[in-house]
């Protein structure tokens, strides 16, 4: 970045000069639209912000300084039975399973609280804070008028609140990918570890116990810690993350189709289907500490195939349970020097708390796929052909992403049906004639050419692939290749804004490189 380029990352908020924000004022700083924070007067704020946080507190002149004050301020203005008073407290942290000892005292465990209100369609309010009684609060609140979540934050202990954008800003220029939408690329609540066993989250699978805090750390006895949701991540996933993502996805499609059924820029939808704008993290169900003794380690299916879309949504054959023996896994850990480290003195040989942490296609992108099919934007056959292009690489497929070049400028939906799938398929097939059979377009064209027999044909391809993978998992050489592939995908995540701590993954001695899975179950190393 040159001196003249403005900082449009999340850091733009933290790096604001002292005095830039006026206490007890609402500021608008939507990166891409606002060159600097500007104070919103009452009328401007009321015109743009209709979520309960704004209407009940900020627009009434109440400016809490801390996350705790947000909750107590709400308590003062809503009735006892208000859903805004029904709250769930969650805790997570990349170092949350590292007990506090003299040797680990300096480890930054990156522990933070998430508080979500309870609602029939998911929470109206979500906030995140490292310490309930200090500043730097991040808050999302659902706006019934405009649809989507409004993103707010404070900076330091200042009582100024910054409106950083609405979910819709994530999807359009010039705000797309900027500010909070770096790590919330589609305007959703972010729960990276969205599925069991929820690596890094307090849950029955891996409780975060008081031992993670120093004896004199007041958080040990803080009410938020003492009233953590008893099921933790189980409920965060089911009652907060998934419903809030579905809610925004539905609202987004409602808005997109409101224009007489014409979706402008459908590439934004296809982007979430063929590319990897963000990821969720998934692990084995096996604890990292037991891999040498447990016999077999289950591996996440979605490392090998996008079974959430291809099997659960599109009805193609399910992959088998992919497993590897303890001996092979343990040898890979030794071969690759796998170590959990904070890069600052803490180093523990072995894997993360649950083994084999890898990125999988994000639930928010699966939700878009589901909604696009449900609304008639995409046919199942077309969606399957897109996803079966380079299917052995469910994330970070540069081949599949190249299909984005062929997205029509708009899509029209009439009575729940559209010619969009056919139009885009024809465009790709036409492009394949010049690009060759080995090109992504050529691969897509072959899939599309199967016609109505796509389920049977794709099923055969998948079953052959599953058999090949299963075979490779039986040898050290085969599994080592998958371990290297996994590390390449982790390395991609390390370059993403959602990478907030070196303890997210274990480190290895594997050279950074692009690695690609082939349909015969072997791994290509560039």
């Amino acid at each position: 970045m040159t001196q003249t380029e403005p900082d449009v990352t999340c850091m733009a908020f933290r790096n604001l000069p002292p005095g830039e924000l006026e206490p007890d004022k609402i500021h608008r700083f939507v990166l891409g639209e606002d060159a600097e924070p500007r104070v919103l007067d009452a009328a401007a704020a009321a015109a743009e912000l209709a979520d309960p946080f704004a209407t009940l507190l900020l627009l009434q002149g109440t400016f809490p300084r801390t996350a705790g004050e947000v909750l107590t301020s709400l308590d003062n203005v809503v009735k006892e039975d208000s859903p805004l008073r029904a709250r769930m407290f969650f805790l997570l942290g990349e170092g949350s399973q590292i007990p506090f000892t003299p040797e680990t005292a300096s480890v930054n465990r990156n522990l933070r609280f998430v508080v979500a209100t309870v609602g029939d369609r998911g929470p109206d309010l979500l906030l995140s804070s490292f310490t309930p009684d200090e500043g730097d609060v991040e808050l999302m609140a659902w706006d019934e008028v405009t649809g989507g979540f409004n993103y707010y934050r404070t900076v330091g202990g200042n009582s100024a609140w910054v409106f950083a954008g609405n979910s819709r800003h994530a999807l359009q220029e010039p705000t797309e990918g900027k500010g909070p939408f770096e790590s919330h690329p589609s305007g959703n609540f972010l729960m990276k570890e969205l599925r069991a066993p929820w690596l890094h989250w307090h849950s029955p699978d891996a409780p975060i116990t008081p031992s993670v805090f120093a004896e004199n750390n007041p958080l040990r006895n803080h009410p938020w810690f003492l009233q953590l949701d008893r099921l933790g991540a189980v409920n965060c996933e089911a009652k907060a993350a998934r419903p809030s993502i579905v809610r925004w996805t539905e609202a987004r499609f409602d808005a997109a189709l409101a224009n007489a059924g014409t979706i402008e820029r459908p590439a934004r939808i296809i982007h979430q289907i063929v590319d990897t704008p963000t990821v969720n993290l998934i692990t084995s169900h096996t604890e990292g500490a037991t891999v040498e003794t447990t016999g077999t380690i289950d591996l996440p299916q979605t490392f090998f195939i996008d079974s959430e879309a291809l099997t659960e949504r599109l009805g193609l054959p399910a992959p088998p349970t992919f497993t590897v023996s303890s001996n092979l896994y343990a040898q890979s850990l030794r071969t690759f020097g796998v170590t959990l480290t904070d890069g600052n003195g803490f180093a523990r040989p072995g894997d993360t708390h649950f083994a084999f942490a890898i990125p999988e296609r994000a639930f928010e992108d699966q939700a878009v796929l589901n909604e696009a099919i449900k609304r008639g934007v995409l046919t199942e056959r077309f969606a399957a052909c897109l996803l079966m292009t380079d299917f052995p690489n469910p994330v970070f497929s540069t081949r599949r992403a190249q299909l984005l070049r062929h997205v029509p400028a708009s899509a029209s939906i009439v009575n729940g049906a559209s010619s969009f799938s056919e139009d885009m398929a024809n465009t790709i097939v036409a492009a394949a004639e010049g690009a060759g059979a080995e090109s992504p377009e050529g691969e897509f064209a072959a899939r599309w050419g199967v016609g109505d027999a796509w389920k049977e044909q794709f099923g055969r391809l998948l079953n052959d692939y599953y058999a090949a993978v299963t075979s490779h998992l039986g040898s050290q050489e085969g599994f080592d290749a998958y371990f290297r592939l996994a590390e390449s995908r982790r390395e991609r995540v390390r370059q993403m804004p959602i990478f907030e701590s070196p303890l997210l993954f274990a480190e290895t001695n594997i050279d950074p490189a692009v690695r690609v899975m082939r349909s015969d179950g072997t791994v290509q190393e560039d």
Binding site: Q97, D120, P204, A206, A289, D298, T321, N370
Partner: protein, 330 residues
């Protein structure tokens, strides 16, 4: 709290007479008596007191058998497998009733332990038959339940997957197994000088059964953590495994009726639910299978088990034990 005069019936069920209630208490005490000599950090609350500074810890887990999360290849497969009673090993079992068109009309969940029914059978056969008639149907005969003079908890009427259920029947799902687990989990473990504290590692190290279940490893880890600190433990009276809650917020009904209204507690009391059913009243004109769970129709009882939380409550009594640390088995 002074010494407990006797163990109450599960969820304080009122159906036993005084004499039989005393017998039940002796049954439970017998379970403890077999364990307390070997495990000094568990105690029988009818023998030793529970002081006011003792605390309670709820241990919660999901009713769905966690083993299947790593064994089944698809959602449909794991749900289908889990509806088989032989797979239901998380101290909760359920049965599914269907119409001829295969749509689900009712799912019944229970956490009632077989020991209680054995006690009833031993002291009051008439009451046992009454319970079976109310839970399963009026056609149940004595001969269906007994082998000679002995009650068979795994009788055919109670082990069906389709139909009705009386009580837990999986071999792992007994009160004795739960108390035995608590006792064994009080022993601190280590391997190569490193303390073993996490769920799966502890289960493997101490031979506490399948490390990939939800329930036992979770109970063991909580108990072990408290025991390491020198405390003594017991289970809260009334001893039992309880249905804590069912999550219905992500269930969508055809007429927008809150799905929670279809949940009926059949046995137990608030906070101590032993048996409940999920059923749509006939006058609604639709079935359980017409309800969407996370966007998919309910085709299996296991989809509800995914949303069901089971609980056991431990009592932690401050004590000054310095427990002997044992090496891992094997």
């Amino acid at each position: 709290m002074p010494v407990l005069p006797r163990f109450d019936t599960p969820a304080s069920l009122p159906e036993l007479g005084e004499e039989d209630r005393a017998s039940w208490s002796l049954t439970v005490a017998g379970i403890f008596a077999g364990l307390t000599p070997s495990f000094p950090q568990i105690y029988d609350p009818t023998v030793a007191d529970t002081p006011v500074d003792a605390s309670t810890v709820d241990v919660l887990w999901t009713a769905f058998p966690a083993r299947l999360l790593r064994e089944a290849s698809s959602q449909t497969e794991r749900w289908e497998r889990a509806d088989d009673r032989k797979e239901q090993d998380e101290y909760c079992e359920w049965v599914v009733e269907r119409r001829p068109d295969n749509k689900i009309t009712r799912v019944i969940f229970t956490t009632e332990v077989p020991e209680y029914f054995e006690q009833v059978a031993a002291s009051n056969e008439e009451l046992l038959l009454e319970l079976y008639h109310s839970m399963i149907g009026p056609d149940v005969q004595r001969g269906d339940l007994f082998e000679g003079a002995t009650y068979n908890p795994s009788n055919e009427r109670n082990t069906t997957t389709a139909g009705r259920i009386a009580h837990l029947a999986h071999p792992n799902n007994t009160l004795g197994a739960a108390v035995d687990l608590v006792a064994n989990a009080t022993v601190p473990r280590e391997r190569n000088g490193v303390a073993i504290t996490t769920k799966q590692a502890l289960a493997n190290c101490a031979g506490l059964g399948d490390a990939f279940r939800n329930s036992d490893p979770q109970i063991a880890a909580v108990v072990n953590g408290a025991a390491r600190a020198g405390n003594e433990l017991t289970l809260q009276d009334p001893l039992g495994l309880y249905i804590d809650n069912i999550r219905t917020s992500d269930l969508t009904t055809p007429d927008d009726t809150p799905a929670a209204s279809f949940w009926t507690v059949e046995r137990g009391k608030p906070g101590h639910i032993l048996r409940a059913r999920f059923e749509v009243p006939e006058d609604r004109g639709y079935t359980v299978s017409d309800i969407q769970a996370d966007g998919r129709p309910i085709e299996f009882g296991a989809q509800l088990a995914d949303r069901l939380t089971i609980r056991i409550t431990a009592v932690v009594k401050p004590a000054g034990h310095t427990p002997e640390v044992k090496q891992c088995d094997g």
